[in-house]
């Protein structure tokens, strides 16, 4: 009972943080609007990239235009969900450098909750809107027959993918405890995962597949469930493949804890 109450309390606090963030963003309405439009267009440029590639080529590794678009929409949605909620991790280097993490530590609340609450990016709604548009188009245009199993698969992919990107953001933030500055290298895993996840992973060849199974489990939220979604495999267990993210997320959480325990204040 007590844990449920605690959890409800945490959720309430989180949404309070969210509403604060949204209200402060609303103060610059013109800029907010431009940013949402910008976000929308950013991902449209990726879409046009795919579109124009497919005006020239009819397929890539046997995937058609519609199939690639479905994959793109899913990964985009996974990423924007993670980005919207876990953006606090992304800007965490500044929090550490300015010594603001000290203030987080003295409050009797979970550090993760406070860091996540420190930023909520309403502007990411632009990216999300685009992913939704993409979905609407793909679902109506693609030959995928939407059975309950496939809908479940899709939901699992979104959930698992958002968790995977969220966990990557968390590792990125954990590294800031040691380096003080964000490591640009992590962009390969986060932004790169989104950018190159637009095509099914097997087009990049064997090595990339091995990496995305053994090191960062992109394949379990993209390639494998996609095979079921596109009807290339009939194995219903692939729907639950995205659960493979859980061990990875647990390791990331441990990294974060380790980082917090090693934190030395940098600010004044």
């Amino acid at each position: 009972m007590k844990t449920i109450q605690k959890l409800a309390d945490a959720v309430r606090l989180y949404f309070h943080y969210v509403s604060l963030n949204v209200r402060s963003a609303m103060q610059y309405k013109a800029s907010l609007l431009l940013m949402i439009t910008g976000q929308l267009l950013v991902s449209f440029s990726t879409f046009f990239g795919i579109h124009f590639m497919f005006m020239r080529f009819s397929h890539v590794k046997g995937y058609t235009y519609e199939e690639v678009l479905l994959c793109f929409a899913i990964v985009l949605m996974q990423f924007s969900l993670a980005e919207m909620f876990a953006r606090g991790f992304d800007t965490f280097s500044g929090t550490v450098r300015r010594g603001e993490f000290d203030r987080i530590l003295v409050r009797p609340r979970s550090t993760v909750l406070q860091v996540l609450g420190s930023r909520f990016e309403i502007t990411r709604i632009g990216r999300m809107a685009q992913a939704c548009l993409m979905f609407a188009y793909v679902v109506s245009a693609s030959p995928v027959a939407w059975t309950p199993l496939r809908v479940t698969t899709l939901a699992m992919m979104l959930l698992g993918g958002a968790m995977l990107f969220g966990a990557l953001f968390q590792v990125y933030a954990s590294l800031c405890f040691f380096t003080l500055d964000g490591l640009e290298f992590m962009n390969v895993l986060t932004d790169g995962g989104r950018e190159y996840g637009k095509y099914p992973l097997d087009i990049y060849g064997k090595r990339v597949m091995q990496f995305s199974i053994a090191v960062v489990p992109y394949a379990v939220v993209q390639y494998y469930p996609l095979q079921l979604l596109l009807g290339r495999s009939a194995n219903p267990w692939l729907a639950f493949c995205p659960l493979g993210v859980l061990p990875f997320a647990a390791i990331c959480q441990l990294c974060w804890r380790y980082g917090v325990s090693r934190y030395k204040s940098a600010g004044s």
Binding site: S31, V60, Y204, G205
Partner: protein, 267 residues
């Protein structure tokens, strides 16, 4: 002129200090380029006849793009300039006996150049060691290499001049974030940073090639691997020169207009 040279020098020296950041950036760009090439390879295997350039030329294009990313990157804008405008510190800059346009131009050019210098050579060196169609090839001829240098300088100028317009516009909008994201995404797309311009359908490509964005990275990267005819090159260089002049003139005008209307925020 001398004072702008010193702005350039100071900023350049400052940029050279961030060596660890450059190393991390290099590794990032190397992976980024590698994934890009793997992607084009998949398309090449799907339908080699539909490929507008050779796979080797595409690889060289991608490696050069990664190596000189900082010269042409649309997202590399100077936060300090935005901060100055938003916080009102720009008032101090205006007290100096310099032209603010020239000063910022020198500064952002130096900033981009210093980052590119640190990163480009290692990336190019490693990329040239890669096996044939995936690595960086030698330039098509000595003449192509010289033309590559010329067009790279012009393209660099066009890029800096274009983003000067963004700084000047910030005087009007105050909060730069929205404008910034919007413009970066538009520029990246039209400049050929998402997919190289030859991959666009012909009709679209012809229009894109007239725009100032095509005068940025598109020309030098394509000149290097000789995927343009002599006539196309001559036209592209002419366009580059035209856009450079036009953008600098527009930027100066916008800047001086903004300064007459400016309200300094904060105290």
């Amino acid at each position: 002129m001398k004072k702008y040279c010193s702005f350039f020098r100071v900023r350049f020296a400052l940029g050279l200090q961030y060596r660890t950041a450059a190393l991390a950036g290099m590794v990032t760009q190397f992976f980024w380029g590698g994934m890009n090439i793997l992607m084009y390879r998949a398309f090449y295997e799907a339908d080699a006849a539909a490929f507008p350039m050779t796979l080797q030329a595409t690889s060289s294009y991608i490696w050069l793009q990664q190596a000189f990313l900082m010269l042409f990157a649309a997202w590399l804008l100077e936060n300090e300039i935005f901060d100055d405008i938003v916080s009102g510190n720009v008032a101090y800059e205006l007290c100096r006996p310099v032209n603010i346009y020239d000063m910022w131009f020198a500064r952002s050019a130096a900033n981009r150049l210093s980052r590119a210098v640190l990163r480009s050579f290692p990336i190019l060196a490693v990329a040239s060691l890669l096996p044939a169609p995936y690595g960086m090839a030698a330039p098509a001829s000595a003449a192509h290499f010289l033309l590559f240098l010329l067009t790279a300088v012009l393209g660099f100028g066009v890029t800096v001049a274009f983003f000067m317009l963004v700084y000047a516009l910030t005087f009007y909008t105050v909060s730069p974030n929205g404008l910034r994201i919007l413009i970066s995404s538009v520029v990246e797309f039209f400049a050929g940073a998402i997919i190289p311009l030859p991959f666009f359908p012909d009709g679209v490509r012809r229009v894109f090639e007239m725009l100032p964005f095509a005068s940025m990275q598109n020309v030098p990267l394509r000149v290097y691997s000789a995927s343009m005819t002599a006539q196309e090159m001559a036209r592209a260089i002419g366009l580059q020169a035209f856009w450079l002049a036009a953008l600098v003139a527009a930027g100066r005008m916008l800047c001086s207009h903004a300064l007459t209307k400016m309200t300094v925020q904060g105290g």
